[in-house]
Amino acid sequence: MSIDLKIIKHISKLSRISVDEQKAHKLADDLNSIFKFIEKLNELKTDNVEPLTSVAETTLKLRTDEVKSKDIRDQIIKNSPQDNEDYFVVPKVIE
């Protein structure tokens, strides 16, 4: 199957990356050549194969729910792109 501009627009919307016409054409070309290469996987029958989600064969460990780092609000806010001591500031979202 081929990836057309409509699909590029759709995935750019899902990825929250704005794409202009010129970039959309380039991306369509690149993704088509990459997916042509990926199509090789269809040669294999995998109906009875269990998917591998992680190679680490461990179950997640339980731990007690306790506070380890306290009073780090300033650290958390420190890298906020817009200066503000108390909140993350974003453009207005409600009319």
Binding site: L41, L52, A56, V90
Partner: protein
């Protein structure tokens, strides 16, 4: 005593312990050489003045019991370092100063190492040539026209050029082993779960591993010993008995069974790679190892599988860069517009391409056909290795299908760039350890590497095999210092 920057880690440690050298002298020597090496563009952020301060502090009250006593080193700029800018080679993190330290780097400082700078890399570790970095490409000390490989290109360049005695990189599909191969250095990708991922900028979480890069196998073993610890802060960190790899290092590999997978003899592989592999087989035999032919039938599916799994995980990991909580922010008319512009201006082309691939294979209607299918084939690839390891202790392959290529040569052809990782990617998919050692030069004098792949958690065996072969190979890197004015 030879020139400081020419010494290996083991020599430097010995000279500091014997008080022939102070940490300050060593640190100053590597900083001086780094200063003269700006043309390589190996560094993104320098930490020279505080490194010198730390070295002086170390010398005032030296703790010579430590494994890296007062040893200066630079690390890949993918490791979060407290109060020191960490960019992942991206504009979107161009001003990011972490308020915490990655576990792996903390382990280094706890053993006495001193940070001299953060090294260039492909943006978010996505690349095989270090050409996707927002901070410009890195040059290979072997030759001005060559890429150093990637994504740990700055790390490989800095070790080969003797700007740092050792370094750490990360490897998601070959990002330690391929640049090591391109620069005539040694690079180890440990077993998945061996080194903590806490505080490493995430690319593809089921594949990412930190690992050591050095001038020789022994230095790599010592560094691995320092960075590999169990860490409750990484839920995929695994508790197992970690060796003192450098102490248990031996060149006695008599009777070890080494597998040669026929599927790695790929179409169009240059004769010099085939010859190198053959030479490697002879060296292994000389060391007393037993050579066994094996089969890894799904090898040719590894790269297409990787290019679904890695972008899928990346698209999800990189969703956090939205311009709200940290990092670069662009101006937008509303919140969605701000997100879209921030990500479009903040990420480079390759990162955007991979986010798009990942978003597509995870999107409604395509998930089963691509992502689930890839996870199933990943299982088949892992099964191949499990089957092979019933017969052998380790596997020997070339590290890369060619020597280092020219800057710009593959930049506009993503698929040909991806093909670089054909021999390294299966190892990440199966979560195994793999080491690349320099094993020869091509007709142009560019280094070529051999890869030794081990069983999960058996870093010791591949380090031993690499150590024994290194002794026989007697590789000498041809570094002319062309970049030093």
């Amino acid at each position: 005593m030879s020139e400081i920057t020419k010494q290996s880690l083991s020599e430097l440690v010995k000279n500091i312990k014997d008080k022939n050298l102070s940490s300050e002298e060593v640190t100053k020597a590597f900083i001086d050489r780094s200063e003269k090496s700006k043309e390589l563009n190996a560094y993104i952020t320098e930490n020279y003045s505080s490194a010198l301060e730390n070295a002086k502090k170390f010398d005032q009250k030296p703790n010579l019991e430590l494994k890296l006593p007062g040893i200066p080193m630079a690390v890949k700029d993918l490791f979060c370092t407290k109060d020191i800018r960490t960019t992942a080679g991206s504009k979107i993190l161009g001003n990011f100063v972490p308020t915490y330290e990655s576990t792996v780097t903390q382990n280094l400082w706890d053993e006495g190492a001193i940070l001299i700078g953060k090294l260039n890399c492909d943006e978010f570790a996505m690349g095989s040539s270090n050409e996707t970095s927002f901070f410009g490409n890195v040059q290979n000390p072997i030759d001005k026209s060559l890429v150093p490989g990637g994504s740990s290109g700055g790390s490989a360049s800095a070790v080969a050029g003797q700007l740092t005695p050792i370094t750490i990189g990360t490897d998601t599909g070959g990002s330690i082993r391929q640049p090591a191969s391109f620069t005539g250095t040694v690079g180890l990708k440990p077993t998945y779960g061996s080194c903590s991922r806490y505080g490493i900028v995430a690319f593809a979480s089921s594949l990412d591993q930190a690992g050591p890069m050095a001038q020789n196998v022994k230095d790599c073993a010592l560094l691995q010993e320092v960075i590999s610890t169990y860490d409750p802060k990484d839920s995929t960190s695994i508790e197992f008995k970690r060796n003192e790899y450098s102490k248990e290092l031996t060149n006695n590999i008599k009777g070890k069974k080494i597998g040669i997978p026929k599927e790695y003899r790929v179409e169009g592989m240059p004769k010099e790679i085939e010859d190198l592999w053959q030479k490697g087989i002879e060296f292994a035999k000389d060391c007393g190892a037993q050579i066994v032919d094996i089969t890894l039938p799904h090898t040719s599916y590894a790269l297409p599988t990787y290019y679904i799994v890695a972008p899928a995980e990346a698209s999800s990991n990189l969703a956090r860069y939205d311009g709200v909580k940290y990092g670069f922010r662009s101006k937008g008319e509303n919140l969605t517009d701000m997100y879209e512009k921030t990500r479009s201006e903040g990420f480079g082309d390759e990162v955007q391409r991979r986010i798009m691939i990942g978003t597509y294979v995870l999107s409604s209607g395509y998930y089963d056909a691509y992502y689930l299918k890839a996870q199933k084939i990943r299982k088949l690839i892992k099964n191949d290795f499990d089957e092979a390891y019933k017969k052998v202790d380790a596997i020997l392959t070339p590290s890369t299908p060619s020597s280092a290529f020219k800057i710009g040569e593959k930049k506009d052809d993503p698929v040909s760039m991806y093909l670089n990782d054909i021999f390294t990617v299966p190892v990440n998919l199966a979560g195994l350890p793999g080491i690349s050692i320099p094993a020869g030069q091509d007709t142009k004098g560019y280094p070529l590497g051999l890869q030794i792949i081990g069983k999960a958690f058996d870093e010791q065996s591949i380090l031993n095999i690499a150590y024994a072969m290194e002794e026989k190979i007697k590789f000498k890197n041809k570094i002319t210092d062309w970049w030093i004015k």
